[in-house]
């Protein structure tokens, strides 16, 4: 280190400022480069025939008529992939006992869920491909299906995979302390509730999209891919299509939202890529909205029986629950479908001191679309269980739930510490957060108002959640289990001849503003105006190797790598400048695009003059001087498995007891993601997350018939939260930087989604309790609320 380190106490021009994103003008002008915007020479289009039933034996597939359609080039069945694709298996070794059979892109002799691809038409246009799909004649023998996860383990249910003895994919139990001893005590209050979480999905604006192109002359596969983890997909295509990893390039340019949906191996995308290799031509597949609802991974779908014991004075003594979740017929590859259940076991009760904890989760196969990781994996369930029970317990012992939280939340000065389930925690601020929250919302006044209005027949409720969020994961998440998923990320920064810098990073941008914060960090730490910073992400050929976007890691891990690379580049520049300027490097700094003297800030040489000298007139420099004006640094979290954040949130709702409709009046979130790099972007991440959480609590649910038919496949039937219904979402921050990095940034991407459902559930129950009823099933639809209100006592 030669020049001065970045001084966070003296805020820079960019870090900590609501700097505007550089890419918004381009996106708003319609100049985005999404996969569907791209047309390659000789490109063909794919459409799929999909299983109309949840479980069936394929007797025959007749493509005679379909092949006759003008413009149809070729039609593929499942068996056509046997020699091309190595089957994939969605298990991880650190999830002991997890089992799932090998998968292929297209069903071969049996279909296991409605929507599973059974044939693929390749044609000169998508419309023609769809014409042909409708002419394929498939003869299916429908088989009995196990669709209901709650009965999937019953003896009477059909076993989906005959090689197994049951439909169980994975089970784990955590047992800490002795909950039974607590229950025996006569001075404890025990509350029990069943929680039901609907199955829902991510609904990104841009559906899953892919163009795969294979050039046999170089054995080179290029995949334009709307996704979150290009390097992970590079490895998967290499491994399962038998192409050297170096010869696979995955390019993710603009991505229109992902939310964890676009980080998995989908049969249709895999088939399109394999066919590109078979046909040696570019193949485009764009999922339409119908296919998105039917085949994008679904998430949640948990039924949890929860129990909490508290002492008379409000101390949490024990938490216990059993969870069951249905994941479809396979565990998704490569991240598996057991992570959500695992997270629930790990995270529940995490904000609190919980001396006794017993929890069990069973992950079962069923004949439905597959389930996997979606934004805030497991968090909304874990937080709703614990904080739902907290509110029940508080009501049972007649204590304000905020008081009960304060009694039990881990003290802000008690870190580092470990949760009941064994998670290591550090640098959290639950008490600061909840204190700031109740002040922000004027809790006491709001409570009085609610009480007054209740007498006038207006039913309002306030609900809270105190939460933790997993961010900045180390290899403990996937790497240790054998998945080729990087938890480290890299950044390369290069000084251009014009004095600007180019940042290339392995984290990715799906619309959340990652590129903007990388630019802010680089500009501040290196010392140039942000207009002089270009950022490239999402290309395995041109960026360093890394994990991409998942588990809220862009700022904390990708940002730290940029920080380190910017410092390294600065060192290189100052070393060269010191020779050119006959000064000591430690007396120089970079400011606003110029090398300056420390102290006086006098300009000595502009970065462009320095770069031009190095690049064009090297003869002016000593012959032994290093010429590097490019630096690469990688970063991973080493001290902790994960860097946790915390938040306290509250919702204020009004329940229309005649219609069952819930209106969210107000929402508050106080969140601690460590150092805030861009408060505007962090606030919007929180708000967007809260909106998604409100969606799951009130609107979103994939509805299946008993036979396993998905009933809502349009945006008219699957309701997403919309602007008109959203409340003002007030956001405030506590900043407790993580000690694991220089920057001190933790993730902020999932807190809203993880916490909002619990706050809404608790607010609705706060309104319901005076009527003598409660409801812990989401989404809280008007119909469900009317059912609940049937038993209400309106006095």
């Amino acid at each position: 280190m030669t020049g001065p380190r970045f001084d966070f106490d003296k805020p820079g021009k960019y870090i900590g400022q609501p700097t505007k994103r550089g890419d918004t003008k381009r996106l708003l002008r319609g100049r985005g480069k999404y996969v569907d915007d791209l047309t390659l020479p000789r490109m063909l289009h794919a459409a799929f025939l999909r299983s109309p039933v949840a479980h069936g034996k394929i007797l025959s597939i007749d493509i005679t008529e379909a092949k006759k359609v003008n413009g149809v080039i070729r039609i593929f069945k499942g068996s056509d992939f046997i020699d091309v694709v190595k089957p994939y298996v969605g298990v991880l070794s650190h999830l002991a006992g997890l089992r799932s059979p090998p998968q292929m892109p297209i069903a071969i002799d049996r279909v296991l869920w409605q929507g599973e691809p059974v044939a693929m038409v390749v044609a000169t246009s998508r419309a023609i491909a769809e014409d042909a799909v409708s002419l394929i004649e498939m003869d299916l023998e429908e088989l009995p299906a196990a669709t209901n996860m709650e009965t999937a383990l019953d003896k009477e249910e059909p076993i989906i995979h005959s090689e197994y003895d049951s439909n169980l994919s994975w089970e784990r139990t955590v047992d800490v302390g002795d909950v039974e001893e607590v229950y025996k005590r006569d001075d404890v209050t025990i509350v029990e509730k069943q929680f039901r979480f609907g199955r829902h999905t991510g609904v990104p604006l841009e559906a899953r999209s892919i163009i795969a192109n294979y050039d046999p002359s170089e054995n080179q596969l290029d995949v334009y891919y709307s996704g979150q983890a290009p390097h992970m997909m590079q490895n998967i295509y290499s491994k399962h299509l038998n192409i050297p990893e170096e010869n696979v390039r995955v390019i993710s340019q603009d991505v229109g939202g992902a939310f964890g949906i676009k980080i998995h191996t989908y049969g249709d995308e895999f088939a399109a890529t394999a066919v590109a290799k078979i046909m040696e031509r570019p193949i485009k597949f764009i999922a339409d909205r119908y296919e998105s609802f039917m085949t994008d991974i679904h998430a949640r779908d948990h039924v949890v029986n929860g129990k909490m014991a508290v002492s008379k004075d409000g101390k949490i003594l024990a938490i216990e629950f059993s969870d069951i979740t249905g994941i479809g017929p396979f565990s998704m590859y490569p991240r598996t479908s057991a992570i959500e259940a695992n997270q629930i076991l790990n995270l529940t009760g995490g904000p609190y001191v919980v001396p006794n904890y017993r929890a069990n989760s069973r992950v079962v196969f069923q004949n439905k679309n597959m389930m996997c990781q979606y934004r805030a994996v497991g968090h909304p369930v874990a937080m709703a269980i614990c904080d739902g029970l907290v509110e029940e317990a508080a009501a049972a012992i007649n204590m304000d739930s905020v008081e009960l939280r304060k009694l039990n939340l881990i003290k802000d000065n008690a870190y580092p510490t470990t949760t009941a389930s064994g998670l290591k925690l550090d640098d959290l601020s639950h008490h600061k957060a909840i204190n700031k929250l109740v002040e922000m919302m004027d809790y006491e006044k709001l409570k009085d108002e609610n009480n007054k209005l209740r007498n006038e027949g207006v039913h309002r409720g306030i609900g809270f959640v105190s939460m933790i969020e997993i961010t900045n994961p180390s290899p403990a998440f996937y790497g240790v289990g054998g998945a080729h998923i990087a938890s480290q990320d890299g950044a390369t920064i290069r000084l251009g001849a014009g004095g600007g810098i180019h940042v290339s990073s392995s984290v990715t941008e799906q619309g959340q503003g990652t590129n903007a914060i990388l630019a802010q960090i680089a500009a501040d730490v290196f010392g140039v105006n942000i207009d002089m910073v270009q950022v490239t992400t999402g290309d395995t050929k041109t960026t360093p190797y890394g994990g991409g976007a998942w588990a809220s890691r862009g700022a904390g891990i990708g940002g730290e790598a940029v920080y380190l690379a910017a410092e390294a580049l600065k060192d290189q520049v100052l070393d060269i400048a010191s020779v050119m300027l006959q000064s000591k490097p430690e007396d120089l700094n970079i400011s606003d695009g110029n090398v300056v003297d420390i102290g006086s800030d006098d300009n000595r040489i502009s970065l462009s003059d320095l770069a031009r000298t190095v690049y064009y007139r090297g003869n002016e420099l000593p012959s032994d001087m290093p010429l590097e004006l490019i630096a690469t640094r990688h970063y991973r979290v080493t001290d902790m498995p994960f860097v946790f954040t915390n938040a306290a949130m509250a919702a204020h709702i009004e329940l229309d007891v005649e219609t069952g409709i819930i209106k969210v009046l107000n929402f508050w979130a106080v969140e601690d993601c460590g150092r805030v790099i861009n408060p505007m972007l962090v606030d919007e991440q929180i708000r967007g997350g809260v909106v998604q959480g409100i969606g799951s609590a009130l609107y979103e649910e994939c509805l299946y018939s008993d036979e396993g038919q998905l009933l809502n496949v349009t945006l008219a039937d699957y309701l997403v939260p919309m602007a008109a219904e959203m409340p003002e979402i007030h956001v405030a921050h506590i900043e407790t930087p993580t000690k694991t990095s220089v920057l001190g940034a933790k993730g902020a991407g999932e807190a809203g989604t993880g916490g909002a459902p619990a706050a809404i559930i608790n607010a609705v129950n706060n309104a319901l309790r005076p009527l003598g009823v409660t409801n812990f099933q989401i989404p809280m639809t008007p119909n469900r609320m009317l059912e609940t209100l049937k038993a209400a006592n309106f006095k």
């Binding site: 246009s125 998508r126 419309a127 769809e130 014409d131 409708s134 339409d288 909205r289 119908y290 296919e291 005649e658 219609t659 069952g660 409709i661 009130l698 609107y699 509805l703 009933l711 809502n712 349009t714 008219a716 039937d717 309701l719 939260p721 919309m722 008109a724 219904e725 639809t781 008007p782 119909n783 009317l786």
Partner: protein, 284 residues
């Protein structure tokens, strides 16, 4: 989700459109705003051989009135009605309802004729027109006929329109003394198709219900005019709460179909609540 192939015509006058619609050997559909038809074609629920686009026929885009009625051309868009001072002045209920019809982007294209020819039972306008006792004008190459709105809607996505006919205009009577209106719809999100909705109209110059109309929507296969309630209401005081309660009780005698999100019982509750609140609007 790409439409099956089809032929497309863009006639500039009504006669040509009617000639095209008169083909008996092929399946012809008129295209108005396309806000429902295009998605249905993309889902391949609808696969016409020929699409006759009506958007260049200016004669269908007029809003006129005389002393007895207001006449809205079938190709008048929601957004045009929203901006029409004539409609605002003569029949303010229409203006009150339009903001509840989907979203402004849809209203910029969706037309009154398209909406009623589609006859979605959850849409506002079919029931609105029945509550206003509107008349639908239909044309084919042979001539014109008029159908009472109440008789026009026959079922889910079904109307009295023959395949060779076009809805050309909607005529709404203007009463000498303006009517009083009550309207309420229950939706989970603003702009959604309603879970239930109600229109109540009555003569505006009286304290009692008189010549009232009660029409529910989104609870049946078509606009549900409940004459029992109208008969019960007529002659009773507008602001009598017990009258309102007894009127709502009449709904208990009806059965409603559930839908994807709501069971039959919930539907009945919504029907009652929407009527109660529409009656409340009347006094508000």
């Amino acid at each position: 989700m790409k439409a099956a192939s089809f032929l497309y015509e863009l006639p500039e006058d009504l006669n040509t459109a009617l000639q095209l619609l008169n083909s008996s050997d092929i399946d012809v559909l008129p295209l108005a705003g396309g806000q429902s038809l295009m998605p249905m074609m993309n889902f391949r629920v609808s696969q016409p051989d020929l699409l006759v686009d009506l958007n260049k026929i200016d004669s269908l885009k007029k809003i006129d009135s005389d002393s007895n009625s207001i006449k809205i051309g079938s190709m008048v868009k929601y957004s045009d009605m929203e901006k029409s001072d004539l409609i605002k002045e003569k029949i303010p209920l229409i203006n009150n309802v339009i903001p509840f019809v989907a979203h402004s982007a849809i209203r910029n294209r969706g037309t009154i004729g398209g909406s009623i020819a589609l006859a979605d039972p959850a849409a506002e306008f079919p029931s609105l027109l029945v509550s206003l006792d509107a008349t639908i004008e239909l044309m084919n190459i042979k001539g014109t006929r008029e159908v009472k709105s109440e008789d026009f809607f026959t079922g889910i996505f079904e109307t009295d329109r023959k395949t060779n006919e076009l809805v050309t205009s909607i005529n709404i009577p203007i009463n000498k003394s303006p009517k009083k209106f009550g309207f309420y719809e229950i939706t989970r999100r603003h702009g959604d198709y309603a879970m239930a909705g109600a229109f109540v109209t009555t003569d505006g110059d009286k304290k009692e219900f008189s010549n009232s109309r009660v029409v529910l929507f989104a609870v049946s296969t078509k606009p549900l005019r409940i004459i029992d309630i109208e008969v019960f209401l007529n002659g009773n005081l507008l602001n009598d709460v017990s009258v309102q309660e007894n009127a709502i009780d009449i709904i208990n005698g009806y059965e409603f179909e559930g839908d994807l999100h709501n069971d039959t019982e919930a539907k009945k509750t919504y029907a009652k609540v929407s009527l109660k609140r529409a009656l409340g609007e009347l006094n508000g």
